[in-house]
Structures are given as C-alpha cells and as structure tokens.
Symmetry: C2
Subunit: 207 residues, 2 copies
DNA sequence: TGTACATCAGTGAACGCGCGTTCACTGATGTAC
DNA sequence: TGTACATCAGTGAACGCGCGTTCACTGATGTAC
C-alpha cells in the first residue's frame, strides 16, 4: 500500500537514492545532478537538504547501499557453494559480475563516481564487508594449495577482484566501446578457471 | 628554443592538450573544464575553438595521444622481450602498468573520461593499435600451448587486459582508497604469473 | 471527539557562480609586388 | 628593402543555462489535554 502523497512525501530519502540510481544509470556519474534527482522524486531541490548534506552525500549513501547489497549477494552465493571451497569461491566470482550487471547504477556509484570509500565510516564499513566475503572465500580455498606455493589469501583475492573489475569495466559496459566476441560471463569464468588451474586448484589436465 | 609568446601563441593546440592533462591528473575527469584549460594555457576560452570543436573534442584528442603513446610503449616492450614469446608477453604486461603510472592523465582520459573510443576514427584507430600489440603478444605466446587446451588468443589477451586494468583502477590509484599490502606491480606480476602457469606456459613446479 | 500547539518536511524565491559557446573585432604574421 | 594586403589566431564582451546552496516561510502531521 503506497504512502499517501501530499505535501509530505513519506519516504523522500529513499526516493532520492532511487532517483540518483536512475540518473546515474542513464547518464553516468558526471550527468547526475542533485536538482534533477529532486525533480525526478517530485520535489524541490531544497528539500534534498532535509535528508542529505548535499550532492556528494547523496551519492555516498547510494554507494553505501550498493556495497551492502553487493556484500549480501556475494555472501549468499558463497554460502550456496558450500561446503566445497572451490564451488563457493567460483559462485562468489560469478556473483560479482551478476551484481554489476543487475545493479549498474550502484556499481557506478561505488566504483566510478569518484567518491572515496573512506568518505564516511558507514561507507567504509560496507565496502570492507563486501571485500571480506571475497577474502574469506579465497582464504578457505587457499588452504588447499600446497603451502610452499600458496600466495597470501589477500593477494589471491586481489587478483580475482582485479580481473572481475577489469572485465566489468572493459567488457560489460557497451558504452566503453571495447566489444569482444566473448560475453563478460564467459570471459570471467574462463579467466578465473585458468587462474585457479595456475594455483593447482583445478586439475591441469581437466577436460 | 621557445617560440615567441605574444598575441599569437605558437602552439596552442598542444598546449591545451597538456593543460587538459594537468587538470585531469589534478582533479579527475569531472573536474576538467574547457575554461580552466584555456586559462592554464594563458588564453581566452574562446581561443580553444580555433583548434577544437569543443570540450569533448579536446578530451578526445588527449585520449588519442594517450593511446598512441600506450601502443608505442607496449610495442617497444614487446620487441625488447623478443625473441622469447614469454619474455615479450611479460614485458608487455609490465608496460601496461608502467604507462598507467607514468601518464595518469592520459590513462584517465582514455579509460575514465566517459568518451567512447569510437568517437572519432583517429581515436578508434589508436585504441585498436594499442590493443593489437597485446593481442599479438598473446597470440605468439599461445602457440606454445597444446592445441587442445589453447584458448583463443583474443580471449587470452582480454584476460590479461582485464586484470591489468583492474589492478590499475583498484590498487594503483590511491584515491580509490582500496589500499593493499602489495604494490600494484607485485600484484600484476604475480597475477599474470599464476595465470600463465594455469595455461601451462610456466612450469607448475617452478621455484 | 475536539481543539491547541509543537514539530518538521516540504516550498519557492533568490543568490552567486562558472560553465560552454557565439560573435564581431583586432592585431600579429607572412607574402606579393 | 619597403609597402599593401590577405590570412587567421587571438581577444573580450556577452549570452543563456543549470548548478548547488541558503533562507524565511508554510502547511501537513501527530500529540497533549
């Protein structure tokens, strides 16, 4: 049941976040303006200041919510892949790309809007939580690597994060113009596959 | 010997590109304005229109020059690594990161400014040339992979490009706030190492 | 149930600003004779 | 070498615009009595 809409909006704060997402998706982080977000939410620009300190603060909140969903999604995938550390890890990687695809506005706010994850404690905490899911998955999986050739789990996680992010930025945005004969999903899946083989976590003669 | 500076600038076109680079490095792609670039070059904003169609066109030219240097640098590294395909490939990967580090303004204009590589034919050609260096290095190296487990060279190149780009974006910009105990160079070098091992191009029991 | 009142989420007008872009112009440069 | 002239890279004033932000205000909501 929708809130009554009159002089008072009802849930303007969240409506502004959603307007921001719509605009960021449509026009990129540069194209987003506070005034336009207010208009899209059916409200005067000045009303925004009842809920946010300003433009940057609104973007930061959008990014924060993004990191929360991101962490949730990856954790869910991770748990679904249990008890196999390998399956859990691979599911987490796929969740990365799935998130970027399904919530492009959030992804842009998080990684391309230019706001630092350290801008507010809440934002930093959400970002850390998301990263820790991937690191945990990497850490558990790395227990299966012979100790003498095992890289630090955080390095392992950083490699996967980097490849995932690179695939998203270069191949999952048609705007980038960098098209490829392969889908981002295939690229990431195969890239991670080769990488895990390099760590001895998948049999080299598989297939 | 410097050109005389008077009513006529001498080489305003290039001076504007360099001003753009300075501003982009300092303030990000968003912070760049045509007016400020003109001021930095010691000229009225209107003068810019003698050399460029407008703001976007100036950024596009900056990106184009970036792709040219990028291609040159990677090709030089590639040739220096010859005749070993492995050495050539690894040198090319290192050149990627070296470029991003040494020419951050160019890198940002190329990948983060939001202008499409297909904006002008010249820009597209420069971008393609840069990519083809990496693809050539990947292609030659992939000849050494047993045919039945050899991925397409362009996929191989895409993986490396993605990881390199991801490392740059996530770990080589202190602004991103995503710090890591490892240097970007170490991250990329080790990540590519694991990946090549996964392809059977480096002995698995090395070290 | 009805009234008085505090709260506070919204309005709407105004601001100063810097932006990208245009235009008629001016003055330096280079060339023809 | 000197003069007339075409070229064209710059000026500087002006424009309309939308931005983020501020402020005193207003009117809807919820609570106390």
């Amino acid at each position: 049941m929708p809130k009554k809409r009159g002089y008072h909006h009802g849930n303007l704060r969240q409506a502004l976040v959603e307007a921001a997402l719509t605009l960021i998706e449509a026009k990129g982080p540069t194209g987003f303006t506070l005034s336009e977000a207010a208009k899209l939410a059916g409200v005067t620009p000045a009303a925004v200041y009842r809920h946010f300190e300003g433009r940057e603060d609104l973007i930061a909140e959008t990014a924060r919510q993004g990191f929360e969903s991101f962490a949730d999604l990856m954790r869910y995938a991770y748990e679904k892949g249990q008890p196999s550390p390998l399956a859990a890890f691979e599911a987490t990687g796929r969740a990365y790309l799935a998130f970027a695809r399904r919530y492009p506005g959030h992804y842009i706010a998080m990684f391309e809007s230019g706001i630092s994850p350290n801008r507010t404690p809440e934002l930093a905490a959400a970002a850390t939580r998301a990263r820790s899911v991937l690191e945990q998955a990497a850490s558990e999986l790395s227990q299966h690597i012979p100790a003498h050739k095992r890289p630090p789990a955080s390095m392992f996680a950083a490699h996967i994060w980097a490849m995932s992010h690179g695939v998203v930025e270069l191949f999952a945005r048609n705007s980038a113009g960098t098209q490829s004969p392969f889908s981002p999903e295939d690229l990431l899946e195969s890239g991670i596959g080769v990488y895990l083989r390099g760590l001895g976590l998948i049999a080299a003669d598989k297939e």
